[in-house]
Symmetry: C2
Subunit: 365 residues, 2 copies
């Protein structure tokens, strides 16, 4: 959104360093900790807290451990601090102005991080400001920046998160974050990958049994993927990653949808669930009248691996969104959660963070 | 179905014992092994293999162990043999004519039983005949005897089993057993207790999130049962008995259905699934024309704890069954799986077993 700009941000209130050199560049550090590993990004802070240039990045495939005290701070720091110090040396800087750590499960599993990160990061990297964010928040900011609106993140699970103008932080309905679904494969995640895959496997087993409403094409895909249908329970139930196994069948539903009405109906129902979640997360759902007047109603971004299925799902989702949120632009996510974490850190460094800080999904220490 | 009759069954082909005494009474032993324990019933064999009097019964709350070799034969025998010998002494007999062991998981977990039961039972109880049956078969026979038809068993899970006139044993479509659903809570069991409970909890969480299609009454029941909705994932997912936890909410859906349209819709959809399963399991689904001619079309029995919910579920189920299986009488189950196991053993003792012996759901050794 802005050209690279090495100027320090006047809004951040830093005095320029003394001497004949050019004004100092401030750096922000974003951290994204999730099931597939830990990633960090270091980049210069531009005007109004926008990243000022392509960041340097580093990636470890080793996820942070989750133990009795939640996400293990020492293990995460053991990966992040040396890597961040190497990136700092690469850009010739000694400290960062702000850090944002985004982590899956931050709200419920972040106690150890909240207890140990402030001091450890201050000692090693010297940031003035530190933000701890749920991965939903970094996904939001990666997708939409600080614009109002909502993000639907659909992978194995499904969660929607929205924020926008309203009455202030802490008011979840109007001013804070609106978190919708994300309750896991037995209580919700409706329309997500495990939901779609399970519905597809159920329809396949209906065909296997000779029940009405079954799908022979999905049964063929089940047999090609898992073998004899009667052995599938023995394959699935002993595993600990059952939701991922279910979600692995979602692309088969997508492949069948063009010619199989049962598969197409599953994706229409998934799209309906996704649109309901987006509607509930979106701030101040506009009426058609408002939208017609050209108000800035915010944007909706779709993100996550499930949408790689493409038209069979994205088509129905866009149709349902047009019905439930008329006039709201639906966009591709501009960046990923790592970009979102860096963006939060940059905004924090520039005192330009406008997102609600609620102490749960987004916390500034 | 028949009056008590201590006469030996001529069809069984036993020679009456010599001497001046009355003709000997033959006894059959039924065993029902399931998750809630082990039960046995010993009763006299009547004409054509019908039980001739109320049996003596015994119950242990200790279920048979399931280990790497499946259901543990030694443990089951350790409970059954002494109890059966005590019951034999009570009736003044020394041996049984036939035994039927019905067990949950017999088809997939019965290898150890098939290996060890014949010899051990022969040594201790001396039966001429032994049948091993899946619990679905004993539920069928308990409910319908040897009549053609189908049984729907709905508790935490849901399975339908049917049999009837056709081309002979082993032909699953026409002459053998037709097993439908029972695939567990992630692949089917559609319309069962876990299915109903999960749908109810999903609707409650929709209301909690402000999504369209939620149910405020179900949300109130969730809060009364489990506490704050946002803590429910933490309560549910770590447990190993997740299906039972889901099913524990099914009665709440039943309680709300009279006044809550969302709960009522869940039970209508469950009823549709149950009726589809019954239709697929039923032998030779009659056309309306056939039924009008008064053919014996067999019967359908509903059994299992879910139907204790009563009218909110049974009403829609009967309506759906009338639509999918017109003319088929829907009956209460006459007896439970233990009665079914005893009935199979009695029929076997009298050489009057007419049910398909397929080596999987029902095996005679």
């Amino acid at each position: 959104m802005s050209a690279p700009d090495p100027q320090p941000d006047p809004a951040a209130g830093h005095a320029p360093e003394p001497g004949p050199r050019a004004p100092a560049v401030h750096y922000a550090l974003g951290v994204d900790s999730g099931g597939s590993g830990v990633r960090i990004a270091l980049g210069p802070v531009g005007p109004r807290g926008a990243p000022a240039a392509e960041p340097l990045t580093w990636h470890s495939p080793t996820p942070a451990l989750v133990g009795k005290r939640g996400i293990d701070a020492a293990g995460l720091l053991g990966q992040v601090l040396p890597a961040a110090q190497r990136l700092l040396r690469q850009v010739g800087a000694e400290r960062v102005a702000a850090v944002c750590v985004g982590a899956a499960g931050m709200a419920s599993l972040g106690d150890d991080l909240r207890a140990h990160l402030p001091t450890a990061l201050a000692d090693a990297l010297g940031p003035r400001r530190l933000a701890l964010a749920a991965d939903g928040v970094t996904a939001y900011v990666g997708a939409l920046g600080q614009r109002p609106g909502a993000v639907v993140a659909a992978g194995t699970g499904m969660i929607a998160l929205g924020t926008g103008p309203g009455t202030g932080p802490g008011d979840k309905r109007h001013g804070g974050w609106r978190r919708v679904d994300g309750w896991g494969h037995l209580l919700g995640d409706c329309g997500g990958g495990a939901w779609v895959g399970r519905a597809g496997l159920e329809a396949a087993m209906r065909a296997h049994d000779g029940r009405a409403g079954g799908s022979q094409p999905l049964l063929s895909r089940l047999e090609a993927t898992f073998g004899p249908p009667e052995h599938l329970p023995g394959l699935l139930y002993p595993r600990s990653d059952r939701p991922a196994v279910l979600a692995s069948f979602a692309p088969e539903v997508g492949r069948c949808a063009a010619t199989d009405p049962v598969a197409a109906a599953i994706l229409r129902e998934a799209a309906d669930h996704i649109a309901r979640a987006a509607q509930a997360a979106f701030p101040h759902p506009p009426t058609t009248g408002q939208a017609a007047h050209g108000d800035d109603v915010g944007a909706l971004a779709l993100t996550g691996g499930l949408f790689r299925m493409g038209a069979p799902l994205v088509g129905p989702v866009r149709r349902e969104l047009a019905r439930r949120l008329p006039g709201v632009p639906v966009t591709e996510a501009a960046g990923d959660p790592l970009a979102g974490a860096l963006r939060v850190a940059s905004a924090l460094a520039a005192d330009a963070l406008r997102l609600p800080v609620d102490g749960e999904l987004l916390q500034v220490l």
